[in-house]
Assembly symmetry: C2
Homo-oligomer: 669 residues x 2
């Protein structure tokens, strides 16, 4: 990027420049140094890109953003009928893969489906509690949404259902509106929020705005997830210790105060069962991690714990000793809930607000998972299509007593590890949940809550990604601070505040990139023809009287003012330096190295005009080195080049410097 040997990208200069039009043509005595390509003419032929026409100028960037994955490419060059058929298969992928399903894949899908079901059922019971909902709603949410996703989604490995982070976030937000979880409006608001989450997701996917989910930086997500995991874990102390009156806040301080002020409520039987099984679960989890082939041990450990603990409690009737159990769960599949949605009044706005927030968090988790496995197995995933599927899944979920679901980290990993080949594993899991709902719910009557708490704690430990955090620390300290910000926000205050911090940090980082592009004063590395940032290369020498500045970004309205101010500052610093320095040569030339400037807009042209004017009034000559052809075209159209004088546009920073220094010598003689 720095100005350097003659050939450096310089061929874009020289538009319509008649040979010999200026005293500094490229065949001047500067040749030996500027010309580095012995076999090449010094002024290369310039290709000014053809005018693409107005329509292309406008649609180009839009296409880049909305269809950069070329999701519609398959529809090109097809007849109308074929196109409709392709469109249907695109919209409902199950129509594509199910008819040509290879029966030999079935055993893998069956095993995977059964495995994730064994993991899902106990998790669902607990996650629903995190959201402040009765356990059965977790099961409902693992029945309908996976079926919808299996029909519409294109990931082959994602496992759909309630997830911990969305559950706690939803719970926190719902309790802000309705503190009493037994209030029937609480459940209705949960459905309403899910409905709006689905609508928002479907809309984002449909109008292909999916890129918005990348506006949350990875580092803040890692921090937020870790904070949320610890928060969720702390919440489980309620169940694990058998405490009945517990704070509704999620910060660490109120939770620990709750735990230690209510020591009388601690129930030793509950603690013994909970802690034993927690240890068991954590050990099996480690086994699954160490020996990849034994992943199934960690996958079925939760179900095993549920069964064993339920048998213990029911046989010893420990529920009479104060061990809280799940209790009666209503039998039967999802009841309809369309009539329970709020479509007016105060809760409409509240539901919409909660829906929007949870929609994006759910997408952030779900899309990241889908993409991970698609990358691992090399299949294409159309992000916007996936988001649309998530949206439809949640809309239908909200009509069938489900709360917000997405792709789950832990279950998708198990699904993948169990060898799932298609979305059929989701259907099988869904059918197992249906069987549970139809026939097996009475079996959970004596399942102790502490087991669910242990299962959740074991599950959320997976969200604490110490390795990623360490990696971020090593690579990028600023990112690590962002991570800590989100983490401590969740940890000490609440899930929402942590999220807000994550969003603000991410936005700030984007703003830094947008508004304050990198610029550098360049000097020449001794003995070379390379120009480098003098801050980075203190050896680099500068020629008194000449200021060479490189701008490292496309210039447009959002950063033009910054760049102009920055240049003004460089110039005033340089003037101070020149006048006080031992050389005493006043600043006479400012050369802008524009190699990295790939495009400019009308505001940027105005900014360059401003700089030209400011410098002219100070009797300083501006020169440009190596502007790109697109940039040059615009500068020409705007008349800037006429104001500047074509002779002040140089092939390279090196040539510009040389010509200016020769002139300096002449002037001073």
């Amino acid at each position: 990027m720095a100005g350097n040997g003659g050939a450096s990208d310089g061929s874009e200069v020289g538009v319509d420049q008649p040979a010999g039009a200026s005293p500094w043509t490229y065949n001047s005595p500067t040749k030996p140094e500027a010309g580095t390509q012995e076999t090449t003419p010094l002024v290369h032929k310039v290709n000014i890109p053809p005018n693409n026409g107005l329509v292309h100028d406008v649609t180009g960037p839009i296409k880049e953003i909305f269809f950069h994955d070329e999701s519609l490419r398959q529809f090109q060059n097809q007849t109308a009928g074929k196109r409709a058929f392709l469109l249907l298969k695109y919209a409902v992928p199950i129509l594509d893969w199910l008819p040509r399903y290879n029966p030999r894949l079935f055993p893998s899908d069956l095993v995977a489906g059964l495995t994730i079901a064994s993991l899902a059922v106990p998790q669902d019971l607990g996650y629903a509690k995190l959201a402040g909902l009765p356990s059965v709603y977790g099961l409902y949410s693992s029945f309908v949404p996976p079926l919808i996703y299996a029909a519409l989604g294109s990931s082959r490995h994602i496992a759909i259902g309630p997830v911990a982070v969305v559950s706690i976030l939803l719970g926190t937000l719902l309790k802000n509106e309705i503190p009493d979880t037994n209030d029937p409006n609480y459940l209705r608001l949960a459905f309403t929020a899910n409905f709006f989450a689905g609508v928002v997701q479907a809309a984002v996917g449909f109008i292909r705005l999916g890129f918005v989910i990348y506006f949350l930086s990875h580092a803040t997500i890692v921090g937020f997830m870790a904070g949320a995991a610890i928060t969720i874990g702390l919440q489980q102390l309620k169940g694990l210790l058998g405490i009945t009156t517990f704070t509704t806040k999620t910060g660490i301080v109120p939770v620990l105060r709750s735990v230690f002020t209510e020591t009388k409520q601690w129930n030793w039987q509950t603690i013994v069962i909970g802690v034993c099984f927690l240890i068991f679960l954590l050990i099996t989890k480690q086994i699954g991690k160490r020996w990849k082939k034994l992943f199934w041990v960690s996958a079925i450990a939760p179900l095993f714990s549920v069964i064993v603990s339920t048998v213990i409690v029911s046989q010893a009737r420990l529920d009479k000793d104060g061990v809280a159990t799940v209790g009666h769960i209503h039998k039967g599949i999802n009841p309809r809930s369309a009539h329970q949605l709020f479509f007016s009044g105060h809760y409409l706005a509240a539901g919409a607000k909660i829906g929007i927030v949870t929609a994006f968090i759910a997408l952030t988790e779900g899309i990241a998972i889908g993409r991970t496995f698609a990358t691992l197995k090399d299949y294409r995933l159309d992000g916007n299509k996936e988001i649309l599927s998530f949206g439809l899944m949640n809309i239908i979920g909200s009509l069938t007593s489900c709360y917000t679901t997405t792709g789950s980290f832990s279950r998708s990993a198990v699904n993948f590890a169990s060898g799932a080949e298609t979305a059929l594993s989701n259907i099988i899991m869904s059918l197992v949940v249906m069987v549970v709902l139809l026939a097996l719910t009475p079996l959970f009557k004596y399942t102790p809550n502490c087991i669910l708490s242990a299962i959740i704690i074991a599950a959320v430990t997976g969200l604490i990604d110490v390795k990623a955090a360490y990696h971020i620390w090593k690579v990028d300290k600023v990112d690590f601070l962002a991570l800590l910000g989100a983490f401590f926000g969740v940890f000490f205050v609440s899930v929402e505040i942590g999220l807000l911090i994550a969003v603000c940090i991410s936005a700030l980082k984007i703003i830094v990139h947008v508004i304050a592009p990198h610029t550098a004063v360049l000097g020449k590395i001794p003995g070379t023809n390379i120009y480098r940032n003098v801050l980075q290369y203190p050896d680099a020498t500068r020629i008194p009287g000449i200021l060479l500045v490189r701008i490292d970004a496309a210039i447009y309205f959002a950063n033009t003012n910054y760049i102009v101010e920055r240049l003004k500052r460089y110039v005033s610093r340089e003037k101070e330096y020149s006048s006080t320095g031992p050389n005493g040569v006043p600043l006479q030339y400012v050369i802008l190295e524009l190699s990295p400037v790939m495009s400019i807009d009308s505001t940027a042209v105005g900014g360059l005009e401003d700089i030209l004017g400011i410098l002219k009034r100070q009797n300083i000559q501006l020169a440009l080195a190596n502007p790109g052809s697109e940039v040059l075209k615009r500068l020409k159209n705007s008349g800037f080049i006429e104001h500047l004088g074509q002779e002040w546009i140089f092939l390279t920073a090196g040539e510009g410097t040389q010509v200016c220094s020769q002139l300096l010598g002449k002037n001073s003689n």
Copy 2:
């Protein structure tokens, strides 16, 4: 930016790379082509920038954004006492300049002050009506705010007072809340909005967030201003034709319908007076434009028109023939209005909302003007300090019966042209307005409204910048469409919708820059060692089996996914092309030219790891050309370079291509 002659910025490669560590050291047979610097060693010594430490890593970008103008530089290296004194002078510049005011400047300032006063008084009467307020509030707003600004502001040429665009925007927003302008709450809401506008401005300035005003692109501002000017002009048809019942909407359709359905209300005396003086005003305006020395003609023409028309109406008693006049104006300076602000209830939120919107529009106009004159006269203007001054001025204004004020285009230009040297001209204008308020208001009793309308029409023609629009059209078609969007939004719908369109277009443009950086597949220009975008240079030849891609932006979390997807698409296209092409060489090497990539964050490192993994699974070797030292440092810390293999990092794209093509030859033999 393109890969090119050996010396191209390549010296950043080779970190800890032992000589001869790979089969492709830079002393290989590739030398003759790669080496373009005869006098230079091929592998330059690399300066990995020193670790700046955590604090600098974090504060650096923040300082760049908030203090890039080095506004606090003067406070460095000073004693505490001196620093406090400097701070006071910084906060209240009048303490700095007034004591050392050069009396010889006084005549200039006096003339300028009187000239802008003669322009301000008639404008104020009309602008207040635009905002739906009684005329006297325009005068109030030209008395207190200019005094405050003169004390706090640092621009020497800006003229403060009500302006047309803010007035109509405020009027539109206020009428949305309270349609009846005679409702006493209307006035109170105007003060409340002004208070919040001031608070928002002061806050933005104080926490140095001033850069937000650059998030509205110049093109959309030009379009918005032109649309607003026409809207304002159309509104004046009411006064100019003497219509009494007029639509409250501002779109062109309802206004013209109002005009032509109420032809019976047209008053010929009004029309004759109005049109004659409008022609007079427009001619004097042209005179002022053509002959710069006669600018005073256009400056005093409004006052002249007011005086002459008032005399005509009062002598001929045309008011009895239906010529509407200003009528009685309350005598006396600004009454207090602190007690009238809404600090609770519904209007609090409405006032805050209106305040925020008008605050930013007022800043956009005011700061642009201040900056223009500062640039012309080469003095420094601390944007955030100015914004803070505007904020304090409007807060105090809201307590003294003023509505939102800012720097006015037309009056500042007159101020500048009349030779104003300091903010004293604002004080003089303010004193003139005070005299008018104290003694001269009865003189306006017979001033016909149509004169005020004519004055406003003549004033707002200056907001229609056809030249700028044509310039934008020539330079940047996309920007021109943005301009049209904002223009037609105002023109056909309303000022707010136009503004909303301007904001959305600007945001979209930023998003395009943020999320979809430019990338290009490079080919070699025949006969050179220059690598260029093959789309731009169709001559450029590519080597089958090798894909060379340049990424033209810093990579960070917001664009990582786009870049990864884009690369995946290039690779899959290339694979199709390679397998079907006549050459039939499968893709084996992907070289990323990273010269323009000045920085990467942890997400970007993850993205590169993803690409590495995807390519590895397809048996394609990744190579990097010319990564910057900061980038290299992070890639090294993250372990990426270890995964990639140091031998796959090349000095330049040219070298990388050559090494890969040699290997291709070996593999195929």
